[in-house]
C-alpha cells in the first residue's frame, strides 16, 4: 500500500526522483555475508561466504573457510570448498530430516569464528499447490501518461485445504530456464550448441505466506507471477516454482528484507534498518549478515512451448539478437548471467 503513495505526491504538487550519489563512506568492510541451506533432500547442501568491501557495493567471495554442519544428534560433517566462496557438503552423514535441528560452525581465514542459531527443519508443509498459466496483457502508464500494453504470461497459484491450526510459514521461489541459440559467426562452420539461461522471476519480490491471522482454508492468487513475452518464448521454456516451508525466525528475517525492498522514500516508509539473520561471531565484534536456513521444500515445474501461445511471432519483443546490431552476448552466451551449455537434467522431462 505505502509504496505507491509516492505517486500521489506529484499530483498534489510537483515531485520528482532521481538517482543520487551520496558519497559512500562505507566502513562496512569486514562485514560478513553468509547464506546457506539444508533441506530434506539427500544433498548436497551449500553455503556461500562473502565479505563487503570498502569502496565496492558488491561483496566479494571469502575462500579458505572451515565449515562444519552439525545436527541435533551432534553428528558433524565438513563442507568442502567449491570455488568463489562456495562450499558444499555431500550429505553422506547428515541429511535434512523434518523435526531435526541443524547449525553450522565456521572458522574464517582471519580466525573469526561464526555460528548459526540451530534451525529446526519444519515438519509441517501446507498442501501441495497447483500452478496454471494463461496469456494476457498488462497496461503500464509511461511518465508521459501514455498507456502501453505488453503481452505477458501469468501464473496462478491455488492451494486448498490449508490447516490453519498449525502455524505455517512459507516462501515461494520462481525460476525460469530457457534455451538460447547463439548467432552463427562468420568463421563458424557448425552451429554452436544451445545454452541454457536460468533466471529468477520477480527476484525483487519476496512471496511469503503465514497462517497467522489467516482464517481461510485456501489461497488463490491469479497473478502469482508474471513474465513478459519476448523472443526467448520461441523455444521451450520451463518454470520452476519451489515452495519452501520455513521457520518462524526465517520468516521474520525475510519479512524485514521485504520491507526494505518495498520502500519508496515516502514519509510513510519504515526507515531502513540492518537485517540481522541467525549468524553471529563468537570471538569478535564482527557483524555477520545472512541466514543459514533449514527448509522443507517441494518443487513444481511446467513447460511452455511456442505453439501454446497464439500469434507468438506477432507478440514477441526482441531482446536484441534479432535486431540489426546484435549485442555481444548474441555471439557468446557465456556473457549472459546464469548461462550454461549444460542441459538441466529436468529440461527434457518436463512437459
Amino acid at each position: 500500500m505505502m509504496k505507491r503513495l509516492i505517486y500521489i505526491l506529484p499530483v498534489l504538487i510537483i515531485s520528482c526522483e532521481e538517482q543520487f550519489d551520496f558519497g559512500l563512506q562505507t566502513n562496512s568492510d569486514m562485514e560478513y555475508v553468509i547464506t546457506g541451506e539444508i533441506n530434506q533432500s539427500n544433498g548436497p547442501y551449500n553455503i556461500l561466504i562473502q565479505q563487503t568491501k570498502k569502496g565496492s557495493k558488491v561483496p566479494v567471495a571469502v575462500n579458505g573457510a572451515c565449515i562444519k554442519l552439525i545436527d541435533s544428534q551432534n553428528n558433524i560433517e565438513e563442507f568442502r570448498a567449491n570455488g568463489a566462496g562456495n562450499y558444499e557438503v555431500q550429505g553422506e552423514l547428515i541429511q535434512g530430516t523434518p523435526g531435526m535441528s541443524y547449525h553450522v560452525e565456521i572458522v574464517l581465514p582471519d580466525g573469526t569464528e561464526i555460528v548459526s542459531e540451530p534451525e529446526r527443519l519444519p515438519t509441517s508443509t501446507i498442501p501441495d499447490f497447483s500452478i496454471e498459466w494463461e496469456q494476457g496483457l498488462i497496461t503500464t502508464t509511461t511518465g508521459l501518461g501514455i498507456d502501453v500494453e505488453t503481452p505477458v504470461v501469468y501464473g496462478s497459484l491455488k492451494i486448498d485445504n490449508i490447516n490453519t491450526e498449525e502455524e505455517t510459514f512459507v516462501l515461494w521461489e520462481i525460476e525460469e530456464v530457457y534455451q538460447f541459440l547463439q548467432l552463427i559467426q562468420f568463421i563458424q562452420f557448425t552451429p554452436p550448441p544451445p545454452c541454457y539461461i536460468t533466471r529468477p522471476i520477480g527476484s525483487t519480490e519476496i512471496r511469503l505466506f503465514s497462517s497467522e491471522d489467516f482464517d481461510g482454508n485456501s489461497i488463490e492468487e491469479n497473478q502469482f507471477f508474471m513474465r513478459e513475452i519476448d523472443d526467448s518464448f520461441l523455444r521451450k521454456r520451463i518454470f520452476t516454482i519451489t515452495q519452501l516451508s520455513i521457520t518462524e525466525s526465517n520468516f521474520r528475517h525475510l519479512e524485514n528484507i521485504k520491507t526494505l525492498n518495498e520502500n519508496t522514500g515516502s514519509i510513510f516508509d519504515s526507515p531502513p534498518g540492518r537485517v540481522i539473520g541467525n549468524l553471529r561471531s563468537t570471538n569478535s565484534d564482527a557483524v555477520v549478515h545472512g541466514y543459514f536456513q533449514a527448509v522443507n521444500s517441494s518443487v513444481f515445474r511446467f513447460a511452455i512451448y511456442p505453439d501454446e501461445i497464439p500469434n507468438l511471432s506477432s507478440l514477441v519483443r526482441t531482446h536484441g539478437c534479432s535486431d540489426g546490431r546484435p549485442e555481444p552476448p548474441c555471439w557468446d552466451c557465456s556473457l549472459l548471467a546464469n548461462s550454461t551449455f549444460t542441459r538441466p537434467s529436468f529440461f527434457d522431462e518436463v512437459d
Binding site: 505505502m2 529468477p200 519476496i206 522514500g265 526507515p271 540492518r274
Partner: protein, 778 residues
C-alpha cells in the same frame, strides 16, 4: 531547588513594598465591546505601565495625583484621559479602530521593543504581522509561519508537524483554545488545522515555558481564536487555488451574545483529475474544517465562551489505500473578574482524534484515535504593583481508543480489537510575573500526578532479556488503583535583566515531563503513527532546558536583535527498533528503545520593525542527538554511541522581508536554507533466496543535500473601490529547486544486484498561487 523556591516566594510577596498605593483598573474593549488582549495601558510620563490580560482587564497602581491614562493597541486609535487619583478607581476603556495610516504607527509603537522585553524564547505573533509573507497554496498558515522563526524546522515539504530546538514533533504541545490537538495537519502537512481567519493570535514558547503549561518537552504552540463581534454583522470570503473559506460573525443579542461561524474547504482533487494516469485520476484528496464560537457577556464582569471545531481529511490513492482522520474540539469557558484585581478562568476542553487507514489490497482498515478531556482553572491576581500571580490546576484525561482491524468483504482477515490505555494527569501550578525597569522575572512551579488507568494488566518480561513477545513470562493483573503512577515537580524560571532600556540579558530554566508519546517509525509524522500514554514499561520523558541570551536595539529602535544559546538534556526519549511493527500491537514497548537525548545550539535574530522594508533574518546553529545504550544488542543503536536524530539540521537560515510599496501594494520574499537532515544509506547488498538484501549503514550516518528555497509574493488592496478586499499572488520555490525530501534505496531490477540510492523531491518546481479576500460589513 531550594534557591528557586526561596526566589519564587520572595517575588510572590513583594507587594509589601507597595501596599499604600492607589490603583486604577478596568477592562479595555473595542467598539464591539470585545475585550482587547495585550493592549498597553500606562500613566503618561511615568514608568507605570501594563498590558491587559486574557479578559482585557488591566490594573495600574501609583501614588495619589493627577495623571494622563493612555492605552494603545495595534490597529486601534490611542486612548488618552486625564484622571485624578485619590482612591482606587475603575475605568473601562474603549478603543476605536484606527484608520489604515495610523496602523503602522501604532504597530511600531507597540511592538518596537517586544523582543527586548519578552522572556527568552517566547514568540508571540498575530496574522496581521504576517499577512504580507508569501503564501503556500494561497493560505496564510500558523505552522508554515512559525517555520520561518529561528529554532523551528521540519523535515521537508509535505511533512506534518514541526521540530523546535532539536525536539521531536510530539514534544510540542499544540492547543487551540486550550484543547490539545493530536494531529495538527491537513493534506499531509501542506496546511495546518488552524483557519487563519479565526485565529486571534498565537504564541510559541520555545525557551521559557510558564508553569501554566505542561506535558511536552520542547515547546508550546498556544493558538487563541477570536471572539465574535457584539455590535455588527460582518462577512469575510476568501477564494483560492486549492481552498476557499468564509467567516460570518455578529451579534445575536447586541452587546450580549455574539456568534462567529467559519468554514474552510480544500479541493485539490480537481487537479488530480487533470492528469493522464488513471491511478491518480481516481485518487482523492480533500479536507474541510469548521469553527463555531459563541460569546456571551454576563454582566460587566463575566463572559462565557463556547466554541466547537471539527475537521475531516481524506487522502485516497486509486484503489490502493485511503487515509481518513478527523479532529473534534469543544471548549466551554467562563471568564470572570471577581474583583478589580482578581480574575478567574474556568475551562472545559474536549478533543477527539480519529484515524482510519484502509488498505484496499488486503481489504481491511485499521482505526485508532484518542479521546481527551480536561478541566482547567486559572486564578490571576494582579493587585500588586508590577506583579501578576497566577495559580491553578489542570486535570487531563487521555483515553486511547481501541485499535481495530475492520475487515471488508471477503478479505480473509478476522476482526481484531487491541485494547489500549488511558491515563489521568492532574497538575497544580503557581506562576508569578514581576518586573520593573531593571528586571523582569517569571517563575513558577508545576506539580504533576500521573496515573495510568484502563487495561489492568502489566506484562512481566524475563530479566536479562530484551523485551519481546518471546520474553514475556507472566502477566500481573492490578485489582485496584492505577496500573502505574508517576509524579514530579517542575520548576520554571525566566529572568530578563535590562542594563539599559535598549539591552536585555536573559536566562531561563525549565524542567518538564512528558507523559504521552507519539510512537513512530517513520521519518515524519504520518497517519500511521500512534499516540501512547506512559505505562509501566514506557516511562515519561523528561527534559532539563537551559537558555541564555541577550537582546538589544538602537535608540531609533529600527532593528531588534537577539542572541540565544540553548541546551536540552532529555531522559527516556524513545526511538524505534529496526523493523518495528507498531500497528495492531498491544505491547509497543517491545518495538521501541529508550535512551538519552540532547540538543544544543544558538539562535540569532535580526528583526527590522520600522520603515518600508520590514522583516527578519534568523539563523540557528544546532545539534540534536540521541544515545541508545542498553544492555541488549536489540535495544542498542549505533553501538550505543551518540547519533544524529532524524531532524538534526546544523544550520538554519531564514530571511523574511516585505516592503510596503504604497497604500495598496506590497511585495515580499523569503529565503530559507537548512542543512540536510540525516539519513541511513545503503552501502552494499547481497542475495538470499533470490532476493536482493540491501546492507545499510549505521543509523543516520549520511545527510541529504541542503535545502534552499526562495518564495516571493505581492498583493493589492482595494481592488474594487467600495470593497474591503485584497488580492494576493505568490510563488513558492521561485527557482524550482529540487530540494530532497529523502534519499532512499530502491530495489534493483531482476538482474542487477548493485544497489542505488534515489533522491525524492516533493516540490521540485515553483508553485504559483493566488488568493482573493473580501470583507463585508467591517
Amino acid at each position: 531547588m531550594k534557591k528557586l523556591l526561596i526566589t519564587f516566594v520572595c517575588l510572590s510577596y513583594n507587594y509589601l513594598l507597595f501596599a499604600q498605593q492607589y490603583s486604577v483598573s478596568g477592562v479595555v474593549t473595542d467598539e464591539n465591546n470585545k475585550p482587547v488582549l495585550g493592549a498597553a495601558v500606562a500613566f503618561l510620563g511615568t514608568n507605570k505601565g501594563t498590558t491587559t490580560n486574557n479578559t482585557g482587564e488591566y490594573t495600574l497602581s501609583t501614588t495619589a495625583g493627577t495623571y494622563t491614562l493612555v492605552a494603545q493597541f495595534l490597529g486601534k486609535k490611542d486612548y488618552s484621559a486625564k484622571i485624578t487619583l485619590n482612591s482606587n478607581r475603575r475605568i473601562n476603556i474603549k478603543l476605536e479602530t484606527a484608520a489604515i495610516e495610523m496602523q503602522e504607527v501604532i504597530k511600531t509603537a507597540e511592538r518596537e521593543d517586544s523582543r527586548i522585553k519578552s522572556i527568552a524564547g517566547i514568540e508571540k505573533l498575530t496574522f496581521s504581522e504576517l499577512e504580507n509573507i508569501p503564501l503556500l497554496m494561497g493560505e496564510l498558515d500558523v505552522v508554515n509561519s512559525i517555520l520561518l522563526l529561528p529554532g523551528v524546522t521540519n523535515v521537508g515539504e509535505g511533512s506534518s508537524g514541526f521540530n523546535v530546538r532539536g525536539g521531536k514533533i510530539d514534544q510540542n504541545l499544540i492547543t487551540l483554545d486550550g484543547s490539545e490537538i493530536f494531529n495538527s495537519s491537513h493534506l499531509l502537512g501542506f496546511f495546518s488545522v488552524f483557519n487563519a481567519d479565526v485565529v486571534e493570535d498565537f504564541t510559541l514558547y520555545k525557551g521559557y515555558i510558564p508553569s501554566t503549561y505542561g506535558g511536552r518537552l520542547s515547546s508550546v504552540l498556544d493558538v487563541q481564536t477570536k471572539e465574535g463581534n457584539m455590535q455588527s454583522w460582518s462577512t469575510d470570503l476568501s477564494v483560492g487555488f486549492v481552498s476557499s473559506k468564509f467567516l460570518v460573525q455578529g451579534p445575536v443579542i447586541s452587546d450580549k451574545l455574539s456568534v462567529m461561524a467559519s468554514g474552510r474547504f480544500a479541493y485539490p482533487t480537481w487537479i488530480l483529475r487533470q492528469t493522464e494516469d488513471i491511478d491518480i485520476k481516481t485518487s482523492d484528496a480533500r479536507f474541510d474544517d469548521q469553527n463555531i464560537i459563541l460569546s456571551y457577556q454576563l454582566g460587566e464582569r463575566n463572559r462565557i465562551i463556547g466554541s466547537y471545531y471539527r475537521s475531516f481529511d481524506r487522502f485516497k490513492f486509486s484503489d490502493d489505500f485511503q487515509f481518513e482522520w478527523s479532529n473534534q474540539l469543544i471548549k466551554l469557558e467562563w471568564k470572570s473578574a471577581i474583583s478589580d484585581h482578581l480574575f478567574n478562568s474556568l475551562r472545559f476542553n474536549s478533543s477527539e482524534y480519529n484515524n482510519d487507514q484502509l488498505d484496499f489490497d488486503v481489504n481491511y482498515s485499521i482505526a485508532n484515535g484518542m479521546d481527551f478531556k480536561s478541566v482547567t482553572d486559572h486564578l490571576v491576581y494582579d493587585g500588586l504593583t508590577n506583579n501578576e500571580l497566577k495559580v491553578g490546576f489542570d486535570i487531563k484525561h487521555y483515553d486511547q481508543k481501541p485499535e481495530k482491524r475492520i475487515p471488508r468483504g471477503d478479505s480473509g482477515f478476522t476482526e481484531l480489537e487491541i485494547e489500549k490505555d488511558e491515563a489521568l494527569l492532574s497538575s497544580i501550578f503557581i506562576d508569578n510575573k514581576w518586573g520593573n525597569n531593571a528586571v523582569n522575572i517569571s517563575a513558577g512551579i508545576r506539580y504533576n500526578d500521573y496515573r495510568q488507568l484502563g487495561t489492568n494488566r502489566v506484562l512481566q518480561y524475563e530479566e536479562g532479556q530484551t523485551k519481546s513477545e518471546l520474553s514475556i513470562i507472566d502477566t500481573t493483573f492490578i485489582e485496584n488503583g492505577p496500573v502505574s503512577q508517576y509524579s514530579n515537580l517542575e520548576p520554571r524560571i525566566g529572568i530578563n535583566y535590562f542594563p539599559t532600556p535598549n539591552i536585555s540579558i536573559k536566562g531561563s530554566y525549565n524542567r518538564v515531563q512528558q507523559f504521552i508519546h507519539l510512537i513512530s517509525n517513520t521519518t515524519s509524522a504520518a497517519p500511521t503513527d500512534l499516540w501512547q500514554v506512559s505505562t509501566t514499561h514506557i516511562k515519561p520523558q523528561e527534559v532539563d532546558s537551559y537558555s541564555f541570551g541577550f537582546s538589544f536595539t538602537g535608540t531609533q529602535k529600527r532593528w531588534q536583535n537577539s542572541f540565544d544559546i540553548f541546551y536540552r538534556d532529555i531522559h527516556n526519549i524513545y526511538d524505534y527498533k529496526d523493523f518495528a511493527s507498531l500497528l495492531l500491537n498491544g505491547n509497543l514497548e517491545t518495538e521501541i528503545v529508550s535512551g538519552q537525548g540532547r540538543a544544543y545550539g544558538f539562535e540569532l535574530m535580526f528583526e527590522k520593525k520600522k520603515g518600508n522594508w520590514q522583516g527578519w533574518i534568523g539563523y540557528t546553529w544546532s545539534k540534536s542527538e540521541l544515545k541508545m545504550d542498553n544492555p541488549f544488542p536489540q535495544e542498542t543503536i549505533n553501538q550505543g554511541e551518540w547519533y544524529a536524530s532524524n531532524f538534526d539540521q546544523r544550520h538554519n537560515l531564514s530571511i523574511v522581508m516585505n516592503r510596503d510599496a504604497g497604500k495598496n501594494f506590497y511585495f515580499s520574499f523569503n529565503l530559507i536554507f537548512n542543512t540536510g537532515r540525516p539519513f541511513t544509506g545503503v552501502e552494499s547488498s547481497y542475495v538470499i533466496n533470490n532476493a536482493n538484501v540491501p546492507l545499510f549503514s549505521e543509523r543516520n550516518k549520511y545527510r541529504i543535500p541542503h535545502y534552499t528555497r526562495v518564495d516571493v509574493g505581492c498583493g493589492f488592496k482595494s481592488i474594487f473601490k467600495k470593497l474591503d478586499d485584497r488580492l494576493n499572488f505568490s510563488i513558492y520555490n521561485l527557482f524550482s529547486r529540487d530540494n530532497a525530501f529523502s534519499i532512499y534505496y530502491r530495489k534493483p531490477n531482476s538482474t542487477a544486484i548493485i544497489p542505488f540510492s534515489y533522491q525524492l523531491t516533493v516540490l521540485g518546481d515553483s508553485f504559483p498561487a493566488f488568493n482573493y479576500q473580501v470583507s463585508f460589513g467591517k
